[in-house]
């Protein structure tokens, strides 16, 4: 039987505010335990939450970017459960009336087509603290620095049909929230994490199969692996006569498998109800328009513009628009190069990104700036250096040996385009290899490569290859 996979994702994106969603404590990452946990975050009696306006602005910005409806009135609810990293005994979230409803995100599939994934809703909530299970004399340590950090939970429709599509959606969302500047997207620090709902059904069947929820997937690679494993597990289970049970599962990174955490019967009854400590959140149309005016050029728009304006292939345009910083760097490079958009794209995506990755550097820490890279591209373009020599220049630039022009000068890499000079070398090579000349003229034209090689060698790689080729052909055939 052929099986169809059905996946929906819930993504928690941490909003990049300075202070928490309901308190004035800092959200900075990496502080010593509990140095950023105030009485509101500690759930001390008598405290009251006060909503951070920036959180609302960021969530509205997200909603507008995915074409969603911004609810004019939304309500905060208490989600009740007991766990020590949530000292109040409830998480403040939104339940029946979320701030953002009904949007979509278009993802690019490998076959070159685009698929629209529905976004059911996005609601505001607070993060919980962190439990440390190392042994503290048989007790658990609690760090509440993260408690109260603002999150937007983005819930998709069950529109994805493979782990690949799920990853494509997640990556697209990751790109989007960083473009919008509402989330730093740092997955290692937990700023962007994912729960996945997965089920399988016989191809052609309309109703969904029973789903399992996989919790806390915090890298693209793990999402894909965990989903692949889970799909396989469900199919094997059904084909061997078993039944999928609705449950929450955890992905075990080390063993590469998912395992049951709790079944539906053990599931918490969260007993949601409106939080009496918070009034309904009203968002005025004027505020929505104000936020709309701050929307940057979005990833898809930027990609389309790159294809249109710079004549780039879709693949190049996608790679170069993965982050705003990368796109800005590329555009600055093209500007410095005075055009040569495709050559600039090749250099940014090739040698430049390669060097960044090799040294494990972020774009902003690159030793080579867009101005310098653009100048190098311009020097290839105006034939000052050959493409091959340019790689040597680039390496020297990366090593901090100066700007491209100085390096070309210092290393004597200037390309020889003077026809007379090249002709002299060509003549010398032909004169020194009479045997090869005879063979060539006897029909062994493949030897052209040999002659080109000799000329390049003799010129120290500096002769313009096109000119060498043309001249040689003329003389050899002569």
């Amino acid at each position: 039987m052929n099986w169809e996979t059905v996946i929906g994702l819930e993504i928690h994106a941490q909003l990049a505010t300075k202070s928490k969603i309901f308190s004035g404590a800092s959200t900075a990452y990496g502080a010593e335990p509990n140095r950023q946990a105030c009485p509101v975050d500690l759930g001390l009696p008598g405290v009251l939450p006060v909503l951070n306006g920036e959180v609302v602005r960021m969530a509205v910005k997200f909603g507008l970017a995915v074409g969603a409806r911004i609810a004019p009135r939304s309500v905060f609810a208490r989600k009740n459960y007991f766990y020590p990293d949530l000292p109040k005994g409830y998480q403040i979230s939104q339940y029946e009336l979320p701030l953002v409803e009904g949007g979509h995100l278009d993802i690019d599939l490998e076959d070159g087509t685009t698929k629209r994934v529905g976004i059911t809703r996005a609601h505001l909530e607070e993060d919980a603290g962190k439990s440390l299970h190392e042994d503290f004399h048989g007790m658990t340590g609690i760090d509440l620095n993260r408690a109260g950090t603002p999150l937007v939970e983005i819930v998709s429709e069950p529109d994805m049909r493979s782990p690949r599509e799920a990853v494509a959606y997640m990556k697209k969302l990751h790109t989007l929230v960083r473009y919008l500047g509402i989330c730093d997207g740092n997955m290692q620090e937990g700023s962007f994490r994912c729960d996945a709902n997965v089920s399988v059904r016989p191809e052609g069947q309309a109703e969904f199969g029973t789903r399992a929820e996989i919790k806390n997937l915090n890298s693209f690679r793990f999402v894909e692996r965990a989903l692949e494993y889970e799909v396989e597990r469900q199919i094997d289970l059904i084909e061997s006569g078993g039944e999928v049970v609705q449950e929450t599962r955890l992905y075990d990174v080390e063993r590469g498998e998912t395992r049951s955490m709790r079944t539906k019967e053990e599931a918490n009854d969260y007993r949601y109800f409106p939080d009496p400590d918070l009034l309904p959140l009203v968002v005025e149309p004027a505020f929505v328009e104000e936020v709309r005016a701050t929307l940057p050029e979005l990833p898809d728009e930027k990609r389309d513009r790159f294809i249109e304006r710079y004549g780039l292939p879709a693949y190049d345009a996608s790679v170069l628009t993965t982050t705003r910083e990368m796109a800005d760097f590329y555009e600055a490079t093209v500007k410095a190069a005075g055009g040569a958009a495709k050559r600039a794209a090749n250099w940014v995506m090739g040698d430049f990104l390669g060097a960044l990755n090799k040294d494990g550097l972020d774009l902003q820490d690159s030793p080579v700036g867009s101005e310098a890279l653009g100048t190098l591209v311009a020097r290839i373009e105006d034939e000052t250096v050959s493409g091959r020599s340019a790689k040597e220049v680039f390496e020297a630039m990366w090593a901090g040996e100066g700007d491209p022009d100085a390096i070309i000068e210092a290393k004597g890499l200037k390309q020889v385009t003077d026809t007379g000079a090249i002709e002299a070398v060509v003549d010398q090579v032909i004169a020194e290899n009479p045997q090869q000349l005879e063979q060539y003229r006897g029909g062994k034209t493949k030897l052209l490569g040999f002659f080109v090689g000799q000329v390049m060698k003799l010129s120290g790689g500096k002769a313009n290859p096109q000119q060498v080729n043309a001249l040689l052909k003329k003389k050899l055939d002569g």
Partner: protein, 95 residues
Amino acid sequence: MALGRDEVLAIAHLARIGIDDESVEGYARDLSEILSFVEQMNAVDTDGVEPMAHPLDAVQRLRSDGVTESDRREHYQKVAPAVEAGLYLVPRVVE
């Protein structure tokens, strides 16, 4: 609506309240009576009535995004039963 023994025990567990075996029946009776009392509401026609999220007819005020709390960890941890390395210690939890 009448609550049975299992439901009372489930509610007690969710609220993390320990109750004696012999008092379960009493709780079941009392809770059932409360529910019956509330059920009178079902007789009211609420079509077209917007659910009330808050008794006050007001909207949420927003604060600006600034860090206003300073680090007072030592002060707050004075009232904690057990702390170590800046962490609050609680009975071991394993999920």
